[in-house]
Symmetry: C2
Subunit: 346 residues, 2 copies
């Protein structure tokens, strides 16, 4: 049986309430030093641990927060969750984690389960538009923070990253390397994908490179999508073939590179490739990948901070965190690009 305040009270010869006071307001001057000492000693001796249930019952706070994300199998989300946990720990709350693995019904279920469990707030990555109505309902009842992407019609704050800018940086990098025909292996039915496509477009526009929709392929985020897009890419007439590709994700870039190599193309010599996400494994790929690093851990840390703010004050602002271009070996000025470039400049 765990020690309770009562036990300590008896041991120290004071009332339960005094014990509570001593233990909860360490700095308070409301207690005589001698009494405080006695209580502390007793608590120590009996190895007291507060009962969170009882405390929560009174305070109407559980110090539990919920997290709902799609999965943890990519470093992307697992690091974000890590960030959330780090800060949660500093704030003295525990994290209830749910992964729906791209099942819309599960996403909805978990959000509700979390609400029902009485968590103080929820951090989630909104994935399915179909759950928007539920979210609208939920945010009235419980503090919500969106991460990585956001339903803008919710009033809940969000913590995202500069995906559009990341795509711009990636594309600009290729342009500065002398590339002029730059393909995009993207994804169109997804917020991040759209933003990345926009960044790609903006870079082309700003550098006055005409946009050619035939150079945009639907790839998705996974390895197979990248591989398949590369196959399509290779069907382009050789003289129209881009010298560079900006991929919407590192795994897709990986698949693409392998397809290119299988087809006898060298990366980056024949075709430069830039990815997005900076997964743990990217430095180990057969051609270490140039990519855009997202603030993975930071997103989690900030989100947890915002959630706390929201719980305490009822308010919190949205933020969009910065991204970073990481140059490795998959992108270099191709000889061909150099030639074309010079030719164009004549």
């Amino acid at each position: 049986m765990a020690t309770t305040l009562k036990d300590i009270a008896k041991e120290a010869g004071v009332s339960v309430c005094t014990v509570s006071r001593v233990l909860n307001n360490p700095k308070s001057i409301q207690v005589r030093d001698e009494t405080r000492r006695r209580v502390l000693v007793a608590a120590q001796r009996l190895n007291y641990r507060p009962n969170i249930m009882a405390r929560g019952l009174v305070k109407k706070r559980t110090n539990l927060i919920g997290v709902v994300v799609s999965s943890l199998t990519n470093s992307f989300l697992s690091e974000t969750v890590q960030g959330i946990q780090d800060v949660a720990e500093e704030l003295g709350c525990s994290v209830l984690l749910y992964t729906h693995r791209h099942n819309p019904a599960k996403e909805a279920e978990y959000l509700q389960v979390l609400r029902d469990k009485g968590v103080d707030g929820i951090i989630w990555m909104p994935v399915f538009e179909s759950n928007l109505p539920l979210a609208l309902e939920l945010e009235k009842e419980i503090p919500l923070i969106q991460i990585h992407t956001a339903f803008k019609s919710l009033t809940s704050p969000y913590v995202t990253a500069e995906h559009e800018k990341g795509a711009y940086l990636a594309t600009e990098h290729l342009i500065k390397l002398g590339h002029r025909r730059i393909a995009h292996f993207g994804i169109s039915n997804d917020t991040h994908g759209k933003l990345r496509h926009l960044g790609y477009l903006r870079a082309l526009t700003e550098y006055q490179i005409p946009y050619d929709p035939r150079l945009v392929f639907e790839a998705g985020y996974d390895w197979h999508g990248g591989y398949a897009s590369a196959r399509e890419f290779l069907k382009l007439p050789v003289d129209q073939r881009p010298t560079a590709v900006f991929c919407c994700g590192d795994l897709a870039a990986w698949g693409a590179i392998q397809c290119f190599k299988k087809a006898g193309l060298e990366v980056p010599e024949d075709v430069a490739v830039v990815g997005f996400d900076d997964l743990t494994i990217t430095p180990w790929m057969e051609v270490p990948l140039t990519t855009i690093a997202l603030p993975k851990v930071e997103t989690g840390r900030v989100a947890m901070g915002k959630l706390d703010e929201k719980i305490q004050t009822g308010e919190a602002e949205s933020v969009c965190l910065d991204v970073r271009l990481i140059i490795r070996e998959s992108s270099r000025a191709s000889r061909l690009a150099g030639v074309l470039n010079r030719a164009q400049n004549c």
Copy 2:
């Protein structure tokens, strides 16, 4: 303000206690049908959600369980956690997850935090021998289940996998392919590593292949370790060079393969490689990797089941789950192995 039993009682015109009875014993005959109906309707109308804190306070159970593992960045552990969560959900409990990222002090801290939070039980992967005393202390106070590996001096049940057998299967596979000189890129200061080494030895012994310690390299589990071991491997005189390698982990195998390729060796033609773990990415490696698949999700599911058993009855048995050889392209009978083999058999 959330609805309470009191609200329902008022709404239905019955006592709080009757409401509790109806809601908790759906099948009980202790309540008149008419009353039951009224209560159910009221609960429905008021959208009642039980307050877990209050219930926990009375029942002395939190329906919270704790999980402590090293990290989630490999599919290995993240899938296990998934398995735990799936079953936890079926059992109506929530999972408090902590990852210590190979920091011994954190592992200790989290175990204690979990105990202090009052979770009903803990599932953990023991990593640091230095925390054994703490674990011995802890298992007296709270149900503990060990996963993936086990401190045998604890009385807590464990759920592990046949690592030794996996290594045996991997090595046997190479032997049956005709390989006779088989290197092992292993890890010696770790339970799994030791078991895998033993399996390797047993296979050699059973097939009467002399053990040559010069063919065993210290690699660790990560990419760099595999790469470094491969460099050492390549320093062996060419005529003594093994035709196959059994690696202690997929990432190490990946590093090794890349080193071999950089050195101009072909995999599997010049050297066959088998890994261990069956990570998500292994099929996508430049040479899809033959490997040993562990029961990742299953381990989690079983562990959660055992924990529940242990919580309910105070007892639960340990289990060791089976593993599976997955043959891909990194292992084939090399021509050289064939030649040597035939020569030996003369």
